[in-house]
Symmetry: C2
Subunit: 491 residues, 2 copies
């Protein structure tokens, strides 16, 4: 082999299992996903390798929203303070997180009214809805926008997971009846499963959040928790039943068939694409670096020549021909740089390229190529004349394999607990606890506070579907239980 | 015909030729492209019909940038004041237009440092470039982002044309030599011709802007003026040769092959997609409403049944079948609403749907369908068994026809003038004036001011290519001319 001189070990030096946080930081840095050196706290740069995947994720999500009857629009990113203040619970929840634009121009002229950088767009959009929605003919009214939002977060920020600016889609829908609104919430949950589980290979489960943890201004919130392994969860998209809480102050009304003016029922849904990206790379990655679903990889196939003296040309030509054959259909790179093969392997594994094709003189003699799958490291020897057919099959199966490998069995992570001490132990052992609770209404908040303090874990809420478990007493106060809840540590 | 009862005339009531401004306002409102009722001055909502087209324009532009070796990234949208102040001319030019974020949270806590909402991203990005670019191996370094920018505009705003928030792409490139930077400027101009003329059907011409009209901080600016007809122009994408003006204060350096540290040469390019959309609909539209290139239309084909009593079913079935045949390939709608055919014609002409297919009982008897092209109103009678082939041909030709019809002959709009009085008359007669000028350096600024005052028109600069005209004296001061310039009214 030639060119052994440039073989820097670029791999990750910390094990994911031993120190997730340090591993993630190295992954983000070494795979060149984000740069945290931007000189404003909580704001980071998304580098090309992450940006390309995030754009693909947006496209898939937008296509699904379009298919389900939503239409895209673009709202201003500033919200006048007077709009923002219209819904009392909402302003109470979001005011601490708002960045305010209060001056402009060279002299720092004060604006007549302060403008909030949107932390979310209900209070921008619903004032417009009061102009746009006139009659029952306009309903259902389903809109979304792809944009960024800003939140003056006090918590520790981490690239993609949590920052003061993040990139999301927000869908805002209006209906004539509460029933239709509830159906929309169900559709939102289905979309979430389709996108997060089937496309992005992140195992999730939906919980109805306790009242103390719902979206500010909502009637109720249904949130997907990603199962990150070891009993830890991460909140991903949530969908909110708003009832008429916003429709009344924002005057979102329609004239019904009977000629009467009625307030709409509303829902909103906010998949944070940048955060989902963070969850995906954190969940799927390993100690060699990124692992990505096939469709989402910026580069899907890399071809690496294995060069032996005096046989360079035949190998390079074979590689070039293969590159030409594949490039119409796949995102493919022929890496003919001067680095050593080993160094190239490291690099493209770190970057999460799904398939690596190696071609050396002996492979050419045997009329074969070698394909290595990134997600399981398996090596496949494929006859040259069967390559095209096989590549398509391997590509098509890649994401499905990844998903099947990675979808955690939720039940396996659960430990059923009847009292606090065993729950504490279960949490310490990396489990998600299922237990009885007095309720998920505000009156149960003291129990949740106690749990948080004593267990260092949070009440995630009631499972949305098929709750099989029943409990007689609340784990917090010992009073009769009205529901089963799940308690877990969270990122 | 049935259902004549709902036939509101939804068309535009003002003629574009008679009152462009009122016509544009009606177009934007009646075709539901933007809503100007958002309660912050200079900020508007982009409605779905415009948003869908703008997204398609972004995608085409991004694909071309990718093809030309740029990579996408995402920058924070706020810039710390200390970065912003690093390049003196830049800050002088942009400071009057900056919105400042200066407080956050419920109590309006003052931020340690004011944050500018980016008016453009040089001062955000180039600080990062100083980290990222190390050696000649990293060059050329070509990046872009798709984002919005904010400018505290004093001028009158108009939806899409000019607003305090607009949506653009900005590409920022670094090179080892000035020559490569100049070549990038040329590539940017070629991309602009490809996108604006070939894809968006807007006739443009590039001028090197006078020094008093260049981008703040640039060495020189090359800007596309859209030829809007009647001698008026509108500034569209511009590309800027930055030289080392930013590289020095931002420390954007590389180690060359000879081991020496050198400053990069930089360029930047900013196609404002929302503004280009405005120019496109303004330029292509007519008194019936929108006209759009085929690829950019949110809906490409609308099928309208012509119903006659007792023959409804056969017509509706035929339409439905056609809809099913076409929907895999095109964005098609079968409009079976209860409105009258005339009312449907109005509506979809207003919305700029490229092809309307009409099917009535007589067409079915003759085994034909009727296709009406929006851009020229031509009616085509197509045999049913030749429909598929013909639709493809008509669709493929639509944008080319539109372009050929709409590409103004620049030469025809020009009037050669040798002194101010004839130039004044030419401008009044809706011409673009070509004349001699002392130069386009700062020392010629008094001449330009005089022209602006006396002619109500602006020196757009020197034509970038093939200047055939020569002049002996400057139209402003009568001194010897060093170049030919073009003078025009602008939007």
């Amino acid at each position: 082999m030639v060119n052994k001189k440039n073989t820097p070990i670029t791999g990750i030096t910390v094990s994911k299992n031993e120190d997730f946080s340090a591993w993630y930081t190295e992954l983000v840095k070494k795979a060149e996903l984000a740069d945290i050196r931007y000189n404003v706290k909580g704001f980071v740069v998304y580098m090309p390798w992450a940006t390309i995947t995030i754009k693909k994720m947006y496209r898939k999500y937008e296509d699904l929203l379009d298919k389900n009857g939503h239409m895209p629009l673009v709202m201003p990113s500033v919200i006048p303070e007077s709009n923002f203040n219209l819904e009392a619970d909402h302003v109470k929840g979001f005011a601490p997180e708002v960045f305010w634009v209060s001056e402009a121009g060279s002299e720092g002229e004060k604006l007549a009214e302060r403008l909030a950088l949107r932390p979310t767009s209900e209070t921008a959009l619903y004032k417009m809805y009061s102009y746009w929605i006139r009659s029952y003919n306009d309903l259902p009214f389903k809109r979304y926008q792809s944009c960024q939002v800003w939140r003056y977060e006090g918590k520790m920020t981490r690239p993609f997971f949590r920052g003061r600016e993040f990139h999301w889609i927000e869908a805002h829908n209006c209906f004539a009846t509460e029933e239709e609104a509830i159906n929309q919430v169900k559709e939102d949950m289905e979309m979430t499963y389709t996108m997060l589980q089937d496309e992005f290979c992140i195992p999730i489960i939906f919980f109805e959040r306790p009242q103390w943890d719902k979206f500010s201004g909502a009637v109720s919130t249904y949130a997907a928790d990603a199962l990150m392994g070891s009993g830890k969860v991460l909140q991903l998209p949530s969908t909110h039943l708003l009832g008429q809480n916003f429709a009344i102050p924002f005057n979102v009304k329609y004239v019904d068939k009977d000629g009467e003016e009625k307030y709409c029922f509303q829902t909103c849904y906010g998949p944070a694409i940048s955060r989902i990206y963070g969850a995906m790379i954190a969940y799927l990655g390993d100690d060699k670096g990124l692992i990505l679903p096939f469709d989402l990889a910026p580069l899907q196939i890399v071809i690496i020549p294995i060069l032996i003296k005096n046989k360079e040309e035949i190998v390079l030509n074979k590689c070039k021909k293969l590159f030409e054959d594949l490039k119409e259909k796949y995102l493919v790179k022929f890496d003919d740089s001067e680095d050593s093969p080993g160094s190239k392997f490291y690099k493209w594994e770190l970057k999460g390229v799904p398939l690596r094709i190696e071609i050396g003189p002996r492979d050419i003699e045997k009329n074969q190529v070698v394909i290595i799958k990134r997600h399981d490291g398996k090596k496949l020897f494929i006859k040259e004349n069967e390559l095209e057919k096989n590549i398509d099959k391997i590509a098509n199966n890649y994401t499905r394999e990844l998903k099947e490998k990675e979808l955690l069995d939720f039940e396996e992570q659960i430990e059923i607990c009847y009292e606090k001490d065993s729950a504490k132990k279960a949490i310490e052992n990396g489990k998600i606890v299922c237990c009885g609770f007095c309720s998920i209404d505000m009156k149960a908040y003291p129990c949740a506070e106690k749990i948080e303090k004593e267990l260092g874990a949070f009440v995630r809420g009631k499972k949305v579907t098929d709750e099989k478990h029943e409990f007689s007493t609340c784990i917090g106060c010992g009073e009769p239980a009205t529901c089963a809840v799940y308690i877990a540590k969270s990122y």
